[in-house]
């Protein structure tokens, strides 16, 4: 049997691409690792490597062909026991390449387009992260702007980049440093194009030394600059947490207000897809516990942009928690010259009167998704996106609680000592008389995030559990 070479998917979301160039011809013998072809998508050009040994028996798709569907057999390789000339192009039908909702980017500690593989087909890996993304994809949020403002569909990734670029144009003291932020264009491509525009003085690749460069950034802020320190993920920021808390957060207080630390620590936070226990934690509750820090965890692209600009301008140290699964999601972003949002203000992402769902970051999509299901069942849920975790907008939460008298906290993170715990305490302290039912929390399972696909799904927060909890507090 000849080995079929199929058009590879360069990313789980890719449906078709251009077969730009063949680097082998019929009759060539190939060994694993040989580059066979170059394939292009709108995002990138990738090399297509052989995995099997044999002879190229037949090239079925000529170079220069556009719109080659993923999974199409593009060539046949005869194994070593076969005669290449005997191989018939039995052209197996190309599998339908369809894009599921909730397409999850293959996680990466560095990029967005996975390496193509000779036998790769459009098979998506199983992951609970897909459900989180699906919730975000099937719901909408609108930014608060004056009526008639022009909107631009923007990914969270681009919104963050735009925010940094705008602030860097505005203020020479602002610079970005971190692992792979410059030449590589960002491990997750958030800093794409910044090196080109601002140069190596202001867009700085660091070695893998989180503790060191977090301290360097903090010191530079003490000296009067406005650093943006990117962590490849907040999991790696644990190496540097001493500087974030002991150096950055406490400086202003300890110096009696003399010495400031105006800087932003940013990067992806929370669970990604199948990356296992050490790369999947939500540090929101950790940092939100620390006086002296501002902690922001946006959901939409508009909020990401408006709040990152505010964070960069803030006189205080800001921990800015992004979410890798949301980087590729698109939202409406107002086309305004200077879109800056207030820190410390939650937002009603959906109005309702029967129950309040409070969440932040990717949990907002889960809450909105649950709200739609609840609406079908006659329960009108209000969804609050906290946006800032410290200082927490108690007023907005309590106002909503006073209206609905019921509250469910939704959090992609562990249940204990969480933002949910804090919200429940606030409801007890200042909203007790408004409560018609105990506040409930729906979170990830209280376990390190497992790798196995089925366990991972069980571990992550789910819209259906939010629906069940909302019904429970509504006594339905």
């Amino acid at each position: 049997m000849p080995i079929e070479l199929k058009m590879p998917a360069l990313s789980p979301t890719m449906e078709e691409g251009t077969l730009a160039k063949w680097l082998v011809k019929e009759g060539d013998s190939v060994a694993s690792g040989d580059i066979l072809a170059e394939i292009e998508t709108d995002k990138a050009t990738m090399e297509f490597e052989a995995v099997d040994e044999g002879t190229i028996a037949k090239i079925l798709v000529a170079e220069g062909t556009d719109e080659v569907k993923v999974g199409t057999v593009i060539a046949l390789i005869a194994g070593e026991d076969e005669n290449a000339s005997d191989v018939e192009a039995g052209a197996a039908p190309a599998p339908e390449a369809k894009a599921d909702t909730g397409a999850v980017e293959q996680p990466s500690d560095q990029k967005t387009e996975p390496e193509a593989d000779a036998q790769a087909t459009q098979v998506q890996m199983e992951t609970g992260a897909r459900d989180l993304v699906a919730s975000a994809e099937k719901t909408e949020v609108q930014p608060e702007v004056p009526e008639g403002t022009e909107m631009v569909r923007t990914t969270v990734r681009e919104a963050l980049r735009d925010a940094m670029a705008e602030e860097m144009r505005r203020d020479d003291r602002v610079f970005v440093m971190g692992e792979e932020v410059a030449e590589y264009q960002g491990a997750y491509k958030v800093t794409q194009g910044l090196l080109e525009e601002f140069g190596a003085r202001r867009v700085i690749d660091t070695p893998i030394t989180e503790y060191g460069f977090a301290g360097v950034g903090t010191g530079a802020a003490m000296g009067g600059l406005r650093p943006i320190v990117e962590f490849m993920t907040f999991n790696f920021a644990m190496q540097a947490i001493d500087h974030i808390i002991n150096s950055a957060a406490k400086t202003n207080y300890m110096s009696g207000g003399q010495m400031r630390c105006p800087m932003v620590f940013r990067g992806p936070n929370g669970a990604a897809a199948r990356v296992g226990a050490q790369h999947s934690q939500n540090y929101g509750p950790w940092y939100a516990a620390v006086p002296g820090l501002i902690v922001i965890a946006p959901y939409s692209a508009a909020d990401a942009k408006g709040l990152l600009k505010a964070a960069i301008r803030s006189e205080d140290p800001v921990v800015f928690l992004e979410n890798e699964l949301l980087y590729g999601q698109s939202f409406e972003v107002p086309k305004l010259d200077d879109y800056v949002l207030p820190i410390g203000k939650a937002r009603i992402a959906r109005e309702g009167r029967d129950v309040t769902l409070v969440s932040y970051s990717i949990g907002v999509g889960v809450a909105l998704d649950a709200a739609e299901t609840l609406a079908e069942e006659g329960i009108d849920a209000e969804v609050i996106d906290l946006r800032t975790l410290r200082p927490l907008d108690r007023e907005t939460v309590l106002k909503s609680l006073a209206k609905t008298n019921r509250m469910v906290c939704v959090e992609e993170g562990w249940p204990g000592c969480s933002i949910s715990s804090e919200l429940m305490a606030i409801a007890m302290e200042d909203g007790f008389d408004d409560l018609d039912a105990p506040v409930l929390r729906v979170t990830d399972a209280d376990v390190p995030l497992p790798y196995a696909a089925n366990l991972e799904k069980m571990a992550l927060v789910k819209a259906e559990d939010v629906v069940a909890a909302a019904k429970k507090v509504c006594y339905r």
């Binding site: 789980p12 694993s32 690792g33 580059i35 090399e47 995995v51 996680p107 990466s108 500690d109 560095q110 990029k111 967005t112 387009e113 996975p114 390496e115 193509a116 593989d117 000779a118 036998q119 790769a120 087909t121 098979v123 998506q124 890996m125 199983e126 992951t127 692992e179 792979e180 030449e183 590589y184 491990a187 690749d205 660091t206 070695p207 893998i208 503790y211 060191g212 999991n235 790696f236 644990m238 190496q239 990604a272 897809a273 199948r274 990356v275 296992g276 226990a277 050490q278 790369h279 399972a445 376990v447 390190p448 497992p450 790798y451 196995a452 696909a453 089925n454 366990l455 069980m458 571990a459």
Partner: protein
Amino acid sequence: MAKSASARAASAKKAAPAAPPRPNRERPPEPERYQAGREELLELYKQMLLIRRFEERAGQLYGLGLIGGFCHLYIGQEAVAVGLQSALDDKKDSVITGYRDHGHMLAYGIDPRLIMAELTGRAAGISKGKGGSMHMFSVEHKFYGGHGIVGAQVSLGTGLAFKHKYADDGGVCLAYFGDGAANQGQVYESFNMAELWKLPIIYVIENNQYAMGTSVNRSSAEDQLYRRGESFRIPGIQVDGMDVLAVRGAAETVIDWVRSGKGPVLLELKTYRYRGHSMSDPAKYRSREEVQAVREKSDPIEAAKRELESLGVTEDELKAIDKETKAIVAEAADFAEQAPEPDGSELHTDILVGSY
């Protein structure tokens, strides 16, 4: 680029007899290339080939969606783990590494089916499917993982060495890390303690020349990484990590030194990874010519093959080994694909040992 890479690989070979930084301080002798007999070299060759074929298949399964998350392949670096671990006493010695860990497990003779089943997240996996590619362990083999945070294994390995000394069990620890991790602060904190307390540890820098997309020269003020222990008085030796017998020879020398109680040694293995940092790295930071040049001129498996041929191993024998290796890997892949996922109840097991 291609030129500079091959030039670098070549200079790695020449640089091996490094001048002692402090001639008045005792150093391990310069390692000699290991003189392997036919059977011995065949065994090393088989192990390297198994890693290569296994990793290629893992890459394939990743493309098919059967392996998720991160998957860091060891292709190109096989001679390092195979050459070093073949010299260990697996009854006594311990090994620890980072997230690019499949090769080290295979070099230890751990069942490829259990490793592959971990990659696919199945109950039969070596961590019951709960760890994944980066988090594999076998306490039975004294293989202590499998760590996802860059540099963490260096301190942890120093702790394993501390245990060897404390228990006086005669063992040494082999702690692998990359050129990227070599810049982490805890590496140097560990170096200091290890030399101060004369701990039996071999620090192995697998210098594959790129920390993700950042080349050694762009991230390291002292890019001759074997010198990184000098200020702690840890002797450093640079070795051609593409030559399994050179690696084995160096292993013999430094294991003798460390086992005799003279304290830690730093081994820098000059190697190269052919694939991206992980499956999702398009590796735009280096040219195709650079990768091809290493593959063609310095491939550890091809070199061993040529040496075997000169020792009289026939093409048929080599073909048979290839076939056998492919069969082992195919079986591991089938096993890993068909094995069931963990039971749902496993979500809540193994968090704490005791009940409270």
